[in-house]
């Protein structure tokens, strides 16, 4: 009887690992917490196509937009942590909780970070009103004429990145909020606001069209895909070590073996030639992290943004 019980227990434990082996046996849903057509949406859809080919199961994409990606994330936190519901989000995942305190889930335990899909440093672009080329000259110009940093909305990653740069570089600048990156960049082109900071995927199309100029990357060193753009680090600005990443998440409480399996599959998916083209078009590099590294980075950034929100008096609910 005891042997039977022990065997049953061992079998059950092995089944846990076996579940990770069989996964997936039915369609998987990937939630995109933004409305369709944006760069995040397109990259997530490309990832979905890769995973679909890899797994042989349909991977369905659902757009659940709202509340700065928190509506989709809240929905994710309510799903079963069996790996069949996943979510792709940008660094907004770590900035939004810094301004929204009444979330219906715990940002640390309610969501499991699985892996980083792609990353790039944040890029600051300047519009028609800024005459300088290069960050060093920009700092000079900013002293004569206090600048306006446009953001895509209160609590967005563009907002936090702008506040960080202003603080660390000691710029006499203010932020002005818009409803979305598109509106912000239009105002840049028209010369009404001066600078906008976002991921390369969001701004490079307009830089390549010549509509805005790439001013500086927010990183200690220059970005390999943008070798002609200065970095904040080389201009003596310290303390900026953040990334504009795109990550894969699952509901909280996922089995670690399943997380590793998904992380491995995701890393395989982003290494395909087809996805490499997507990465190139968006001027981002593949994530290539383990789930533990990614989780650490997400939590580190959450702390950073909460601290920045307090220092710069960004409204925290």
């Amino acid at each position: 009887m005891k042997i039977f019980a022990a065997a049953a227990l061992a079998f059950a434990a092995a089944t846990g690992a076996a579940v990770a082996e069989d996964f997936p046996t039915k369609p998987v849903t990937i939630i995109i917490p933004y409305s369709g057509g944006g760069s995040t949406d397109l990259m997530a859809r490309s990832l979905a196509i890769e995973l679909q080919d890899m797994w042989g199961q349909p991977v369905i994409v659902e757009n659940r937009a709202g509340a700065g990606s928190m509506i989709g994330t809240a929905y994710l936190s309510q799903q079963k942590p069996d790996g069949y519901t996943l979510l792709v989000n940008t660094a907004a995942h770590s900035t939004a909780p810094a301004v929204q305190k009444d979330l219906p889930f715990d940002p640390k335990t309610g969501i499991t970070p699985i892996g980083m899909v792609a990353t790039s440093p944040y890029v600051a672009v300047s519009g028609a009103g800024v005459k300088s080329e290069g960050f060093d000259k920009f700092v000079e110009e900013a002293k004569e004429r206090p600048m306006f940093f446009a953001t895509a909305g209160v609590g967005s990653s563009s907002h936090f990145a702008a506040e960080l740069l202003i603080q660390q570089a000691g710029l006499p600048a203010d932020v002005v909020h818009y409803s979305g990156g598109g509106e912000a960049q239009v105002n840049l082109m028209g010369g009404h606001a001066d600078v906008y900071i976002s991921t390369t995927a969001s701004v490079m199309p307009y830089v390549n069209n010549g509509q805005v100029k790439a001013l500086v990357v927010l990183a200690p060193e220059r970005f390999e895909l943008l070798p002609d753009v200065q970095s904040s680090g080389e201009n003596g600005v310290e303390g900026i070590e953040i990334d504009g990443w795109l990550g894969l998440f699952g509901p909280g409480g996922m089995d670690p073996a399943l997380v590793e399996r998904l992380n491995a599959d995701m890393n395989k998916a982003i290494a395909t030639d087809r996805f490499k083209k997507v990465l190139e078009e968006n001027f981002v590099v593949a994530g290539k992290t383990t789930s533990a590294e990614f989780k650490e980075q997400v939590e580190k950034e959450m702390e950073l943004w909460i601290g920045l929100a307090k220092e710069r008096n960004i409204v925290a609910q």
Partner: protein
């Protein structure tokens, strides 16, 4: 001349069998979706978006664009026949369209809207073809200050939409503005009236409000009055082909409104962030103001049906100007269009006309093809739509409520949005009981937040200097026009009251 070679190039691409087929599919689907209340272009294009991965980029765009401007043709059908708007930009068409249907002139109303839609579409395409670079450069110079003064002008201009008691109209506009304040304050991040829910953080949806306030309330009101099981007031044999043809009088009255509304629609369509809804309000109000007999509006004036439909079609066409020449989406639907291009590595922008002439002109010429297909499709279908009225209400209305609910849910997969529609339906019904007009509420809801957001942004950029907002050239012009318009409205009101008093005293 360069333009002719571009047109030739575009026609060559637009008229290939594959593109023709997808154009037809797109406009047909678009019309059908426009007719269904509640489900709009955004839902359809979102659902069909994956098709862009499997088609040539131009072909996919032609189809998606066909759905987009096709809904503007079909949206008036339900507005006229059932007093339920088919799309949010067809709300204003209900005001005169339904009275016309009640007078037995449904066929004429449908025919005039089809013709007006075609006129507006063609006008928009011409503007798009000839003036895109000029317009997009001008649109860039519209900053927050210019948008603010323009929206104020729009509010003053569209205020003519109210009928009856001006106090009630004003109260409804204010209520609309209050409802629009729900959500996160865009400049400071403070939550307003959200009661802690995430669902309200982005505010109440415009589509949910329009469908609930006009659609669901109409269903509720009709159920009350039609409990004896009668069917429509229009029976099939009353709708002969003869009655579908507009009279010469109708055509005479309509062509100037068509011209004016096309201009207004093209203007608002080309500005990112404003669109067919605002265009339809302002053009209706404009026609009412310049008309010699404004009292006919709201009771079945053909101009009141032609104006908004022409404007919203023109706006839908010129919405492609910032999308294609700046790469900036003016609305969520346009973001999907840009996404469809980006999937294939094409980044719309100022270089698009020179580097991707085949796609640009192929698309523009497909708009011509699409509009022609639509007018050919829509005119004969009028007889079919009018027969919709013969479906017993106890079958028709549950279907309508179902479509509205599906449409509301499909935006964000959110049950909360469906409840919002129901809530606004109840509000709309309560407003009917108290004879409060609903159109001003929608006007306030649409324009109020735009006015606030742009004003506060302009103040931040001007560092609190109010005069700086007014002193800019374009804003200054809008301010002057607003003041003049306000003055003229007041003066003509006093003159009307003066005349009435004179008539009274003479008697």
């Amino acid at each position: 001349m360069d333009i002719f070679s571009n047109i030739a190039l575009g026609l060559e691409i637009a008229l290939t069998p594959v593109n023709l087929l997808y154009c037809f599919l797109g406009v047909f689907l678009g019309t059908f979706i426009g007719v269904l209340p509640g489900i709009g272009a955004l839902a359809a294009i979102s659902m069909l978006f994956p098709i862009t991965y499997h088609l040539e980029p131009t072909t996919a765009l032609i189809m998606l664009a066909g759905i987009y401007y096709g809904t503007a043709y079909g949206g008036s059908t339900a507005s006229i026949l059932l007093n339920i708007p088919g799309t949010s930009s067809s709300v204003v068409t209900c005001l005169d369209g339904y009275p016309m249907a009640q007078q037995g002139r449904a066929g004429v109303a449908l025919a005039m809207t089809a013709i007006g839609s075609f006129f507006g579409g063609v006008f928009g395409i011409l503007v798009l073809s000839l003036f895109s670079p000029l317009i997009s450069n001008s649109a860039l110079s519209f900053g927050p200050a210019e948008y603010f003064t323009l929206m104020v002008l729009g509010l003053i201009a569209a205020s003519a939409i109210t009928e009856g008691s001006a106090a009630k109209g004003l109260a409804m506009v204010v209520l609309g503005i209050l409802l629009a304040s729900v959500g996160m304050d865009p400049q400071s991040g403070i939550q307003r009236f959200t009661f802690g829910t995430l669902d309200l953080m982005d505010g109440l949806g415009m589509s949910a409000l329009a469908m609930g306030l006009f659609g669901i309330s109409e269903v509720i009101a009709s159920i009350r009055t039609k409990t004896d099981g009668t069917t429509a007031t229009v029976t099939p044999h009353a709708v002969s082909m003869r009655s579908l043809i507009p009279t010469r009088d109708d055509m005479r009255r309509s062509w100037m409104p068509m011209l004016r509304s096309s201009s207004i629609g093209s203007f608002f369509g080309a500005l990112p962030g404003t669109g067919p809804s605002i265009a339809s309000f302002v053009s209706y109000a404009m026609e009412k103001r310049v008309s010699k007999t404004p009292e006919r509006f709201g009771k079945g004036a053909v101009e009141g049906v032609v104006a908004p439909e022409t404007a919203n079609n023109a706006a839908d066409q010129t919405a492609f100007i910032p999308t294609l020449t700046l790469g900036i989406p003016g609305s969520a639907t346009m973001a999907l269009m840009i996404g469809a291009m980006m999937v294939h590595g094409i980044h719309p922008g100022p270089q698009m006309m020179t580097e991707q002439p085949a796609m640009f002109w192929g698309l523009v010429m497909s708009f011509w093809v699409g509009n022609v297909l639509l007018i050919i499709l829509n005119l004969p279908l009028i007889g079919l739509w009018v027969r919709l009225l013969t479906i017993p209400y106890h079958l028709l209305f549950p279907a309508i409520v179902m479509f509205i609910s599906i449409g509301a849910y499909s935006v964000r997969y959110s049950a909360f949005d469906v409840l919002t529609v129901a809530g606004f339906g109840a509000l709309g019904y309560a407003m009917r009981i108290f004879a409060m007009p609903a159109a001003p509420l929608l006007l306030g809801f649409v324009l109020g937040p735009l006015i606030e957001q742009h004003f506060r942004r302009a103040m931040v950029l001007a560092r609190g200097d109010l005069a700086a907002i007014v002193e800019r050239p374009i804003s200054g012009v809008f301010v002057i026009i607003s003041v003049l318009l306000l003055g003229w409205s007041l003066w003509s009101t006093f003159r009307q009251t003066g005349k009435a008093k004179l008539v009274e005293s003479e008697n």
